[in-house]
């Protein structure tokens, strides 16, 4: 019975796997589509990460709860309908309560529907596992996805605008000494390069020679 430590429980492993070792973006190369466009600022990245976590965990929960009654030949359409409904909820919520952020996120909230992570988890995990594990798996995937987003956004906002969450952190003395914000960090190519370097680091740390 020594194996009842928290880190050994099935629930914990279900969460930690996708959050780090099987990170959906860096390891499985899924869901990159929407991940990069929202990372110019930390704030949009955080909102996007929360929206994504909400959708993936609840779609996993619902699909898993219905897994006994979904006919297998129309399962993709059923899954898409569940996901799309959750995304519409999220989109309407953001428009109602966080209008500024929803303007910045523009079409990328809608594009959560086609995010391969969600359909992938519904197909690959929720259909074969009980609801509570599926929900935790969704949280883990949301955390793995969100951590990449926040990491990329942190560096882009820090180096590109000298701020974090809109608060200026680069001291004025540094600007006086000739430091300049890197304009390229605000543009698309920097996101590709940062995520490439991050994937390199993570793969280096998790694989052995």
């Amino acid at each position: 019975m020594t194996s009842m430590k928290l880190s050994r429980t099935k629930a914990f492993q279900t969460f930690a796997g996708p959050a780090w070792r099987e990170n959906p973006i860096n390891m499985q190369m899924l869901g990159i589509c929407s991940a990069l466009a929202v990372t110019v600022q930390l704030k949009t990245a955080l909102v996007m990460a929360l929206a994504m976590t909400f959708v993936v965990s609840f779609s996993n929960l619902i699909v898993s709860a219905m897994r006994g009654v979904i006919p297998s030949n129309i399962r993709i359409i059923v899954e898409l309908a569940v996901i799309a409904s959750l995304v519409i909820l999220t989109d309407e919520f953001l428009r109602a309560y966080m209008y500024e952020v929803s303007k910045l996120l523009s079409v990328f909230v809608g594009l959560i529907i086609t995010n391969c992570i969600i359909l992938g988890r519904a197909e690959g995990f929720a259909l074969y596992n009980p609801p509570h594990l599926a929900f935790i798996d969704g949280l883990g995937n949301g955390a793995g996805y969100g951590s990449v987003l926040v990491f990329v956004a942190f560096f882009r906002e820090l180096l590109g605008s000298g701020t974090i969450l809109g608060v200026s952190v680069v001291p004025q003395a540094l600007y006086d000494a000739g430091y300049e914000d890197m304009g390229i960090m605000l543009l698309a190519p920097s996101a590709f390069i940062i995520i490439g370097l991050m994937a390199w680091l993570q793969k280096y740390l998790t694989t052995k020679d």
């Binding site: 869901g31 990159i32 086609t114 490439g196 280096y204």
Partner: protein, 202 residues
């Protein structure tokens, strides 16, 4: 006419749907390992985007937009919140229909494109094309040009990447950088090159 040409050039180069808006990355990373598959998928994306963007334009402007149901005497309705679910359904149905039509009429084309069509239903570039069409308020003609241009831009990017990865196979990369890491960095460099076109106006 000049506007349309410049919209086309913009959607292919400076506003490239993959390199500037990051759409369709999943299949881009997975499929660019193979040059022939990239060409096939590229054509399939052009094909599907050129059909679904104008089709979704019609559906949005005659069924979903605020006041769009005026022709049926229901001018007070605003169904635009349904656009996500309707667009994805249209895309999935269209892809399915195309697959059946191609299968029926051209075995050669089916052999080349057929396997890619199901992949496309969940390609973010396709849904993204329709959503950008709504957000940027294109007219019908513009939506046709944009759908086609976005597809051409996507195909250009994936073929360039597949060609670069053939060379990369022989590169001696540091441990951990191979695969996804180097693909992202090369994509970043390519995106910089495509941004050079952004100064061009007609």
């Amino acid at each position: 006419m000049v506007d349309l040409v410049s919209l086309f050039l913009n959607s292919v180069f400076a506003g490239n749907i993959l390199l500037a808006f990051f759409l369709g990355m999943c299949s881009f990373v997975a499929v660019s390992r193979n040059l022939e598959a990239s060409i096939g998928l590229g054509f399939a994306v052009i094909f599907v985007l050129s059909i679904t963007v104008p089709l979704n334009w019609l559906i949005f402007h005659y069924l979903l937009a605020p006041g769009a149901l005026a022709w049926a005497g229901l001018g007070g309705f605003d169904l635009s919140f349904l656009k996500l679910i309707v667009f994805i359904a249209v895309i999935a149905a269209m892809v399915q229909a195309l697959e059946m039509i191609i299968d029926r009429f051209s075995a050669a084309l089916y052999a080349n494109l057929g396997i890619f069509l199901p992949l496309i239903a969940v390609n973010c570039a396709i849904l993204g094309g329709s959503l950008f069409m709504v957000e940027r308020d294109y007219s019908f003609v513009e939506s046709v040009v944009y759908g086609f241009g976005a597809g051409v831009g996507w195909m250009l990017a994936i073929i360039a990447m597949a060609a670069a990865r053939i060379k990369l196979r022989y590169a001696d990369l540091p441990r951990g950088l191979e695969g996804f890491g180097i693909t992202m960095i090369v994509t970043g460099l390519m995106a910089m090159a495509f941004m050079m076109f952004s100064g061009i106006t007609m």
